[in-house]
């Protein structure tokens, strides 16, 4: 029998039992759709987090108070308890490292902001003029904090776009006075809309000189220090220089943690990549279940069509002809299931993207290929046994059936 005829014969057979075919296609489709949707979700989460961290910049080192014992980056890196505080002196000392180009010490707190009668709760970020360059941010109006010494607490503020709209409406904000807590400050600039960014959304932030913030919150510690290094290649060397400086400032003990974007990205990439893989594995199990279903359905088909198999043999079909016909039938059902599942999965991923626009829930190519491939392979693999059974039937006994 020619390949085209085998395909046509198998196709007719598949269509002859619509309920059976529909069930099998559905089982396969659910498996493939699960792979597509779950990996889209996993990979979307991975890409989301990576995108967030990537916005930090590649030649950035973040210094946190507290030692992270494992040396690498884990969830603890962000919530270390603080045995010895980071101070402005530490920050200015870091500037002495030859490979450090810019620093931005951060001090944060919550306070009330008032303009005229309007009052609202807001987050205050104390930093320096270099923060703008370090974070690659832009201004909508006015200018940023002035270049001045770290200890200088000038009474100026830069506010986020949302705050500006809420407090000033359509009026000009630059040059106006605001009150933050008990401190009166002059607005010198308005931030451009930043959208998503790790940590703080600058749209609702009041940015003040770091000394001003420390005075406001009556503290001399820093939340963290952002350090920009001269070039990505210098990252490791710069990190060593910074560690030396900080160690010498803390009686030889390095109780701070230095995080680079690469380390963070690498860790998250690994964690979420593993998660995606695990999820794909779980989905693959449903494909294996579908494969077993294919086998059972095909075995039933062989039993149902025993008389027909006997007839084909009487008409001169070889064992190979019959084996191929049943194998192709199983493959066709799997293929239909895989394609239906692919469509369903893409639909699901589209639904997720619609519901959570921030999540880039696109199924990775490898997962789609693996899902479709596994579906076809399981279909064929689990189709072999029924096909061989059909091919081996004794024609006389097969014809005696029915």
């Amino acid at each position: 029998m020619s390949p085209a005829d085998t395909l046509r014969f198998a196709g007719r057979a598949a269509f002859a039992y619509p309920l059976r075919t529909a069930l099998m296609v559905l089982a396969m489709a659910i498996g493939v759709a699960a792979v597509v949707v779950l990996t889209a979700l996993g990979d979307g989460a991975r890409r989301y987090v990576i995108g967030e961290f990537a916005s930090l910049g590649a030649n950035l080192v973040i210094v946190l108070p507290g030692r992270n014992e494992t040396g690498g980056v884990n969830a603890g890196s962000f919530i270390t308890n603080t045995p010895r505080d980071l101070t402005l002196a530490d920050a200015s000392a870091l500037l002495r490292a030859p490979l450090v180009s810019r620093i931005a010490p951060l001090s944060v707190g919550n306070s009330e902001i008032a303009v005229g009668g309007r009052l609202r709760e807001t987050m205050v970020l104390g930093t320096t003029a270099d923060y703008l360059a370090v974070r690659h941010l832009a201004l909508a109006e006015g200018r940023f904090l002035p270049q001045e010494s770290l200890g200088h607490a000038s009474a100026v503020a830069v506010i986020g776009g949302t705050l500006k709209r809420e407090l000033f409406g359509n009026e000009a904000a630059v040059g106006r006075m605001i009150r933050v807590g008990d401190t009166r400050l002059r607005v010198v600039g308005v931030m451009a809309a930043s959208g998503q960014g790790l940590g703080f959304n600058t749209d609702e932030l009041v940015i003040v000189p770091v000394a001003t913030a420390q005075a406001m919150f009556n503290t001399n510690t820093l939340f963290r220090i952002m350090v920009e290094v001269r070039g990505r290649d210098a990252l490791a060397a710069a990190q060593r220089q910074m560690e030396d400086i900080l160690r010498s400032r803390r009686e030889g003990e390095l109780d701070v943690t230095l995080i680079t974007q690469d380390a963070v990205l690498g860790t998250f990439d690994r964690i979420l990549g593993a998660l995606t893989l695990a999820v794909a594995g779980i989905a693959a199990i449903s494909l294996a279940v579908a494969g077993i279903l294919v086998m059972n359905v095909m075995l039933v088909a062989v039993t149902q069509r025993t008389g027909e198999i006997g007839l084909l043999k009487a008409l001169g079909a070889t064992g190979g002809d019959i084996r191929r016909a049943f194998l192709v039938e199983a493959a066709l059902l799997s293929l239909a299931g895989a394609l239906a599942g692919y469509g369903l999965g893409q639909l699901g991923a589209w639904g997720i993207r619609l519901a959570y626009p921030v999540l880039p829930a696109w199924p990775p190519d490898w997962a789609v290929a693996a899902g479709l491939g596994t579906a076809l392979l399981t279909g064929l693999l689990f189709g072999v046994l029924p096909a061989r059974r059909a091919a081996r039937l004794d024609p006389v006994q097969a014809l005696a059936k029915r």
Partner: protein, 242 residues
């Protein structure tokens, strides 16, 4: 050389603990173009003999020469090729593929033989015309009468122009009138040169054949052509069975 030569054929089945000798020490020769009826009580081995002749079954002992070639030693695929090109089957229960139309059922042997679609279509169209099935070409078996179904089955059995047509109770599922029609159809094919071997319960149908074989307990009890065949070729001495 006869078209079919069986020599010392044994075929037995194990049922439970006992062995059933469906055929024992059977020898037989059939010339090309003969019209043979195989008769005998139920269980006498008629179907087993026909299956052997059609290469659907292998004997436990003995030799079967078809057109001068020993076919008992052929591989399964070689036997399939012989069935495909030389042998046509007609069954009591028609054995049509339910999801295929009459035309597609008739085309099945051509498809299995790998004949090109255009040629296939031409030959099926002629068969439909010859068997008066043109109106029914697109109908599925469940939309056909018993007589029409058997005509489709006969058209399918002869589409490859086999040398040998084997029919196991072809009229068993048909009423007398339709059965008569089908018998005439088979006889017409025989008249055109095809060897026709029919298993039948019906003595009237059996008498119409030019040669009658009577089976009993797996042995040939009588052969209406035995006189002449014995003169030419005495059957080998029966060997004692183990």
């Amino acid at each position: 050389m006869a078209q079919i030569e069986l020599a010392g054929i044994d075929r037995s089945f194990t049922v439970g603990d006992s062995r059933v000798h469906a055929l024992s020490a059977l020898s037989l020769a059939i010339e090309a173009g003969e019209y043979v009826a195989i008769m005998g009580p139920s269980g006498s081995g008629k179907s087993t003999l026909l299956n052997l002749l059609g290469l659907l079954d292998r004997p436990d002992a003995g030799h079967y020469r078809l057109e001068g070639r020993d076919v008992t030693t052929l591989s399964a695929d070689e036997q399939a090729a012989v069935r495909r090109s030389r042998i046509g089957f007609v069954f009591q229960s028609f054995h049509l593929v339910p999801r295929l139309s009459a035309a597609e059922n008739i085309a099945l042997p051509l498809t299995l033989a790998g004949i090109a679609p255009a040629e296939r279509e031409r030959r099926v169209a002629r068969a439909l015309r010859d068997f008066g099935l043109e109106e029914r070409a697109r109908h599925r078996p469940d939309e056909l009468s018993g007589g029409q179904r058997q005509r489709v089955a006969i058209a399918r059995a002869t589409i490859m122009q086999p040398a040998l047509l084997l029919a196991d109770e072809p009229t068993g599922n048909l009423d007398r009138h339709t059965g008569e029609e089908v018998t005439q159809l088979l006889e017409a094919l025989n008249a055109a040169g095809t060897t026709l071997i029919v298993v039948t319960h019906d003595p009237a149908m059996g008498r119409r054949a030019r040669r009658q074989l009577m089976m009993e307990d797996g042995k040939l009890k009588s052969d209406s052509a035995r006189q002449s065949s014995r003169a030419e070729r005495p059957p080998p001495a029966p060997e004692p069975l183990g």
